[in-house]
């Protein structure tokens, strides 16, 4: 059953895996940021991504705005959505039992997915003629230009996120709130505002990722589910709350997906990813880079 692909195919596969992995990592980073801040998993994260992709799609269809230009719009829209989600829902369930925490965002996810299907039908849509398209050849290896640009942009966004958290005062306040809510509040940090900000930034990550994904991926109401599933795996693999961990884990998952698909069979690529996840969390429940 195992058939070894040629070296060229394998190299190309690994490169593509790394590129997709960078985008996965950006999606997962938003999830990880929120979890690190308040130990709540956003089960509507995939649907946020889906809304980011639809924002880019509608900007293109209605106003002929290329997805590359709507990156800030998507980021801002999702920032607003994340902020509102915290104000409307999350704030009320901070001290609630785990079941309520899981199902509050889970319900939101189901709702948003159904809303997208209700408003925009389940059809697969696509940005038909984006600025960035087609393959390019680098050192004899063919890669998709949108994938290349998206992964570079994801890395850039990642760098910005890292810089923001580690080098700015607001970032330090976020970190402090994540570290110890009460102590941060005693130091005069408005933790309530930090939580809203965390939700805003975490959601803006998928807004940006969504705009880039819309360049080369179909847009439909259920598109978020697959990416969200991978994002949970990446976040758990990298360690909940570890933003750097998500980058490493994102690339690992991207590569495993492609190599697993090449070595076993394309249909089993996600089985390989999920199996890897199960093995890692069973050996190291806190993930590869998690502290607790």
């Amino acid at each position: 059953m195992l058939s070894l692909p040629s070296a060229e195919v394998l190299v190309q596969g690994v490169l593509n895996g790394v590129l997709m992995g960078c985008i996965y990592a950006l999606i997962a980073a938003g999830l990880s940021l929120i979890f690190g801040l308040m130990e709540i998993v956003n089960f509507a994260h995939g649907e946020f991504l889906m809304l980011g992709m639809y924002t880019a799609f509608w900007m293109y269809t209605l106003f002929a705005l290329d997805p590359l230009l709507s990156v800030p719009i998507c980021g801002a829209t999702l920032f607003g959505l994340g902020w509102l989600t915290h104000k409307g829902i999350i704030r009320r369930i901070l001290g609630a039992p785990m079941l309520a925490q899981i199902f509050a965002t889970f319900g939101l996810g189901i709702f948003l997915r159904a809303l997208a299907q209700f408003l925009w039908t389940p059809d697969f849509r696509q940005v038909s003629n984006p600025w960035i398209q087609g393959p390019v050849r680098i050192l004899g290896i063919s890669v998709g230009l949108p994938q290349l640009v998206s992964s570079l942009a994801s890395l850039l966004a990642f760098g910005f996120l890292y810089w923001f958290i580690t080098r700015t005062e607001t970032g330090a306040a976020l970190e402090a709130t994540a570290e110890d809510r009460q102590a941060a509040a005693l130091m005069g940090i408005d933790t309530e505002r930090m939580f809203s900000l965390g939700w805003g930034i975490g959601s803006a990550c998928v807004g940006v990722a969504g705009a880039f994904l819309a360049m080369f991926f179909y847009v439909f109401p259920y598109v978020g589910s697959l990416f969200a599933l991978l994002a949970y795996v990446i976040v758990a693999l990298g360690g909940f709350g570890s933003v750097q961990g998500s980058l490493a884990a994102g690339i690992i998952v991207g590569v495993i997906e492609v190599v697993g698909g090449l070595l076993i069979a394309p249909a089993f690529k996600y089985v390989a990813v999920f199996l890897l996840y199960l093995i890692v969390v069973l050996i190291r429940p806190q993930g590869l880079f998690g502290k607790f």
Binding site: A96, L99, I102, G107, I110, F111, Y232, V233, L278, P285
Partner: protein, 333 residues
Amino acid sequence: MALPPATTPGPAAAPRLRLSWGAVVPGLLLLAALAFPVLFRLPYHRDVVIKLYLYAMLAQAWNILAGYCGQVSLGHAVFFGTGAYASSVLQTAWGGNPWVGLAVGVVIAVALSQVIGYPCFRLRGHYFAIATIAVGEIVHTLAINWEFIGGARGLTLPIRPDALADFQFATAKYPYYYIILSLLILCLLVSWRIERTRLGYYLRAIKEDADAAQSVGVPITKYKLIAMAVSAAFVAAGGTFYAQYVLYIDPDSVLPLNLSILICVLAVIGGVGTLWGPLVGAAVLIPLSEFTRVKFGGTGSAVDLLVYGALLTLVAVFQPTGLVGLVQRLRRR
């Protein structure tokens, strides 16, 4: 009352309840349920109620693990699929009997639940929930690509004349009704027993604080595994019932993530961790979903999911004890 029990009915509240609600209401409900097929002869009505019982039973079984023990499984479709496939493959590949298939499905599902549970129960809270999603997706993908059990095409069961031995009643339908009603009642009785025995107290202790439970000597993994086994057994029986009722199964109908989600939604909206919650949830939501499907046509417009999602969030935020908790609160006023 000095100490109002927050989520679980404590022993102090039990005697009063038993006099008023505890005996009379279930008795009347049972009578109504037994008489239903006599009064309503349209296949459509019977079909809706059969579905209602099936999903109530699944949610009830999920509730044993998630509601009492606090382990949120988002992969219960695995056990449903196991039950459905075990009995169906037994029939199509080896000409076996569906009742034997039901037993085989239950045994395999229980074994599977231990294989999944033993490692996954090392994970806490959100991690466990995500791990069960991953397990569900793995099994779904494997089933789609496993040609022996029909792959993505699924399995069509041979149609036989109505007979109890063959578990087929395509023309009369009402035996299906009484079979699933019996399963539901059995599941309710088991939950009721669990609530009142040592097992139930252990499970709720694990849910409230696993570390504290362990420190006073509750073997937490063992009891989580017991809860998972009981839960999986009922869900697998439901799977076999579904296969015999519809006579066609495929991975997207018996193993999807959406089924796992629906099971939780019913229990949570009805009242998670309560005896009547899952049944109440199913009794409200299954007819509602049938109604919206008739009214708005198909599942294409997703109106039922729109309502489910909104209700789920609202219940989780404002009424974590569900409809049952709401009724209890109003009665206490």
